[in-house]
Symmetry: C2
Subunit: 695 residues, 2 copies
């Protein structure tokens, strides 16, 4: 088979993206790593992160091999291969993320002496390596798989592969990072009265490892998963329309966003800057504008200038616009510059109960504008795409394809969005190194200034991740219904020939009168609540183990607190790793077994209900948790900025921050992965549900 | 028209229930009201409650008249009448509740001298007056309306009437009670250091009024609304089946439960008892057993002994069993005898953040068993009813009818459930009067003992109310879809004759592929989050106004704190009343306008999605909020029982209780009303959505 131009473009874009990422990585590596003391800390973080990954891989690899065999044998050979590819590339992306962020952090710390420009450039380029590599990996995987196996349903396993790794890195990492963070704070700050990131705290390295594992690698694997799932769903739906010129269109949109992201990251130089938010915003808007331009060009080249082409292009424009809209909404609810966080900060004066309630109120209220934006995007892109259908009977399919393209266009900007996100944890880690090596006030100021922006971008990227996970899941649910129907129709004359036409039709009855759908919606709606409860309690348990260990070390060797002996950092990393894996599997079992059990018991319609129910409660809960947590964090920062550190008000605000930690960094992000995992499991096992119906 | 036996039975049951309720009321009134001091307090509460009701009525009556005219003119005359009847009877039930609970409270306080038996009997019979009057009112209204207008859709307005009043009493009362409670506590306990229910606290009467308004009348109006909505939905669905023998069946189930409840309440005597939980449980199980027996008898008499009759009877048995199952689950998560509350109490030792997180975790986890019970009930009752359908094409309709009967059988026990619930606030108020008049330790112990059981029954009744609201709404959503389709079919040849068959079919496309359904689900799922945020912030605002007033009074007249002058109680009642009405309308506008706006913009399918989305997130959120709040409350009680009052642990536990107050008594219960209100609005305006489609 010869490569067509529309197959070549995404592959070329991915390769270009790897090249630029490699260039950034090389540039970062070339910079000075700093003193031996700094390298020691960096090495400890690197070794800790590697230990975490190694232990995870020990569990993931057997599961992955087992799953690959099961999928390959029961579902199909190509799906088994696709699964393996999806998982392996995601793991590689995670590995790259960890390696480069650790390297970048120590170099950024070292650069603090030469001012904010160099430090910022190091943090940004370290982040951009991750940001560009992740979507390039996803795009390459799908373009190649789709080239080899041109039927999209035969490669749906790639989604499960991505989900499996995301589950371990996103959820496992989320538990790890907060167990370490809360454990370090509870004994260090509260009991031993030593500052954050103090090298005497045995949990401090684990805390820094957690920033890399949970924040940088976790977000990367989350978005990688959304990316894979969305392309997959849009190709599945596009295949149903059956026009050859649109088969590759979703992948082309991905390529266009990736090229735009490469150019966007190149706009960030290393000159000295006073405000780092400006260049970041500029790089994003450059990328968005280029993406729109390229989308237009690709549409013109491959689809044409007819009304269909214009409708599809329109749907992608909506997706691109949705990114800054969601980011602005999230920013409004989590940034201390605006009323919501200010009101939370004011409520701290009234005491713990007021602060807690106010944070929850604002988080709940934030779901309103967020949802209106999503719903408006869905309605508009559906309507314009449906209107372009050649005849009314296909309007629905065209409309759904349009909404999946909106999701795809949003995710196509993952490159630049992730780059902007990933620099935050690097700056945070650099700050930790500056603190631990006692480099001084001035250097800390540089990292603090960058870290503050990093907190903002971290919060707004969560909004992006939740919105894109929601849209990805909605696209997947549509694909699931069509696939389930296709399987049934395929077997209508054979296995289902004994059924009356009425009973047969009922197997594909996705209406809200079908009790299987209602049961599915209720069970699906339950899952995010149960998993949230599970994960927050998991973090609490893990943190208390960490507390015990830190206390034990302080007691066993009193010289640790005087600074004469070095604490046993590795032990704390180990505890967080084991605890995160132990807590993780419960959520994993729920997310993987729920659609399978319900599908086997009540058939594919119940599964569709379950998927939808999980999205409905999942995105609201995730957005509420992320924003409430983010707002508490920044309310505390606002109290500190007003110079009220040490007052009662500050004590209250610190409690809000602690409550918010598992909200925003464990449970909220985990729900993204869960709602997608449910979908990938469902779509790969769709034939199994149908087969069971026959028994 | 002559009354048939099946029409006579419900009317007779309702009249018997009124008679017994009147008997209880007369007995309560006959008892000694106590000293002048006690009467003064009781009068203040009565006047306060009356002031609240009067002010509410001033707003409700014009709205009700306006709505009656609108509904009567646009939707149909009979619907206008039904609306007025539904609203008026609900208001009457609220009035009766308030009058009798105030009377019973002061008499129960007076009876504390003669031991726990008499006090308990007074509290219980006061509660039973409310418990028996509320469902009797609902049953009578529906039986008579349905006798006069035998087409159920023409009397659907009765549901809006019930919802309108429930909105004001349940949500308005919920804001009132917590504003008063938090306001009284924040200044009284924390600043002025005076105990709860101290007569020197200006907000203390408002607090007691709130117990009556929010807890007793609020729960009554909530269950009244579920009762009306469920009967309505099951009659609507039953009418579609078209068998004459099942038309009155849902009302007969109501009658059977009511008769059983009368007998159940009669088992409670006024002998001295050491444990009040025992007799309460006994009275419930007696009622449940009799209800099952009567359901069997009525089924045999009016439906027969065929497989349909047995299936319907089976569905009602499941409904009756569901009541204690839900109560036990709720009890497990909110009673200090079990692990969840004990774990929360233990977490209080770790500090504010741990306690808050642990409460939220347990509340979230409680949704799991709750949902499994609901889903199992739906699946079983659907399956057995669907299997009894004469031919497969009607299986769906029969199955849905069966699930609506399960909901109805559950609600048929409202009489006994409400009786057991309503004695709690009376005991609480009696305790307040004992405290305020300084009657002494021994008397307080009697009310405390009863109040403790009241807290348990209050928590478990919330579980009942949420489950029944959820089932009521699910039944209503089915009825809505059938009604919308019926309207469309009715106008198919006339107004829609210009549409192609395909476009016409799309107007009734309730499948999960329809983007209108998806948008509806997302918007509906949003509503409970937004309203929760709105109401909790409303309570905070109202409470801070109360705090200002209490502080103002203490400052203006220092003699209040020394006990020499009497505070201005009425002013505080007034503030809570105005604040509750001001905060209420926002939620009301959202709940009323959301289905109408979406229906006009996107048609009836989007509305069905909205209703379903609201149920999915609404019941989880409501149950989580109710149980988290209840568990925090009891964790605090547990700390106190262990004699740790005044310790740091206790301070932490008190904060949990304060956070939980608006959770369990404002937002949680309000969601019940909201999810039903959405449905009643939707079903009455269904013809309007369809008419708009024509334009």
């Amino acid at each position: 088979m010869e490569l067509q131009l529309e197959q070549l473009i995404p592959i070329a874009a991915a390769i270009a993206s790897f090249a630029v990422a490699a260039g950034f990585a090389a540039w970062v590596t070339k910079q000075k790593a700093g003193t031996k003391e700094m390298m020691d800390i960096s090495d400890a973080v690197r070794i800790g992160a590697a230990a975490f990954l190694r232990r995870e891989m020990k569990i993931i690899i057997p599961i992955a091999i087992g799953l690959a065999v099961v999928i390959g044998y029961f579902i199909g050979f190509s799906n088994g291969i696709a699964f393996a590819v999806g998982a392996a590339l995601s793991a590689v992306a995670g590995l790259i993320s960890l390696k480069i962020t650790v390297k970048a952090a120590v170099r950024a710390a070292n650069a603090t002496g030469s001012g904010i420009g160099k430090t910022f450039a190091l943090a940004f380029r370290g982040g951009a390596t991750v940001g560009l590599a992740v979507p390039a990996m996803a795009l390459l995987a799908l373009a190649l798989l789709f080239y080899i196996f041109p039927d999209p349903i035969t490669i749906a396993g790639v989604g499960i592969g991505a989900s499996l790794i995301a589950l371990f890195i996103r959820i496992g990492g989320g538990i790890f990072t907060k167990a370490a963070d809360m454990g370090a704070d509870l004994v260090g700050k509260v009991e031993a009265n030593i500052p954050e990131d103090d090298p005497r705290n045995p949990a401090t390295i684990a805390d820094n490892v957690g920033d890399n594992v949970g924040d940088a690698a976790g977000m990367g694997s989350d978005v990688y998963e959304s990316y894979i799932v969305t392309i997959l769903a849009s190709i599945l739906i596009g295949a149903l329309i059956g026009l050859p010129q649109i088969m590759m269109y979703p992948i082309l949109i991905g390529a266009s966003g990736l090229i735009a992201s490469i150019i966007g990251t190149a706009t960030i130089g290393s000159k000295n800057v006073s405000d780092v938010m400006g260049p970041l915003n500029r790089s994003f808007y450059v990328s968005a504008a280029i993406a729109i331009g390229l989308n237009f060009a690709f549409t013109y080249m491959f689809v044409g200038t007819n009304s269909l082409a214009m409708a599809l292009f329109g749907a992608t424009v909506i997706g691109v616009i949705l990114v800054p809209v969601i980011q602005r909404i999230t920013d409004y609810y989590t940034n201390y510059k605006y009323r919501p966080v200010q009101e939370i900060q004011e409520s701290a004066k009234w005491g713990y109960a007021s602060l807690t309630l106010m944070g929850i109120i604002k988080g709940m209220q934030s779901t309103g504008p967020f949802m209106i934006a999503l719903v408006a995007a869905i309605i508009i892109s559906f309507s314009i795409s449906a209107a372009s259908a050649p005849d009314p009977s296909q309007a629905l399919l065209y409309g759904i394809f349009g909404t999946s393209l909106t999701a795809m266009a949003m995710l196509s900007l993952a490159g630049i969005v992730l780059s902007i996100d990933a620099f935050g944890p690097i700056a945070d880690n650099a700050g930790g190194i500056v603190e631990m090596t006692g480099m001084g006030e001035e250097n800390r100021k540089v990292t603090d200034q960058i870290d503050a922006v990093g907190n903002t971008t971290k919060a707004v990227t969560k909004g992006f991740a939740i919105a894109s996970a929601g849209l990805a899941a909605l696209a997947m649910i549509q694909a699931f219904q069509y696939e389930a129907k296709a399987f049934l129709t395929h077997h209508a004359e054979t296995t289902f020939s004994h059924l009356s036409p009425e009973s047969f039709a009922k197997l594909s009855d996705y209406t809200l009168t079908n009790p299987a759908i209602i049961v599915g919606l209720l069970v699906g709606g339950l899952i995010p609540f149960i998993i949230t409860g599970q994960l927050i309690s998991g973090v609490s348990r893990a943190a208390s183990k960490m507390v015990d260990e830190v206390r034990r070390q302080f007691k066993a060797d009193p010289d640790i607190l005087t600074g004469k002996s070095k604490p046993d950092y590795a032990k704390c990393v180990d505890i967080a790793t084991i605890a995160s894996l132990r807590e993780l599997w419960k959520s994993a079992v729920i997310a993987i077994s729920a659609p399978i059990v319900l599908g086997v018991l009540l058939g594919p319609t119940a599964v569709a209900g379950l998927l939808m129910g999980a999205v409905v409660t999942g995105i609201f809960l995730a957005y509420h948790l992320a924003n409430t947590g983010g707002a508490w964090d920044n309310a505390k920062k606002l109290v500190e900025m007003q110079g009220h550190k040490g007052t009662d008000e500050h004590k209250v605000a610190v409690v809000g921050d602690i409550i918010g930690d598992p909200y925003k960094d464990t449970a909220g992000p985990a729900l993204n992965t869960v709602i997608k995992l449910l979908n990938t499991v469902a779509i790969v096992f769709v034939s199994a549900f149908v087969a069971i119906l026959v028994l």
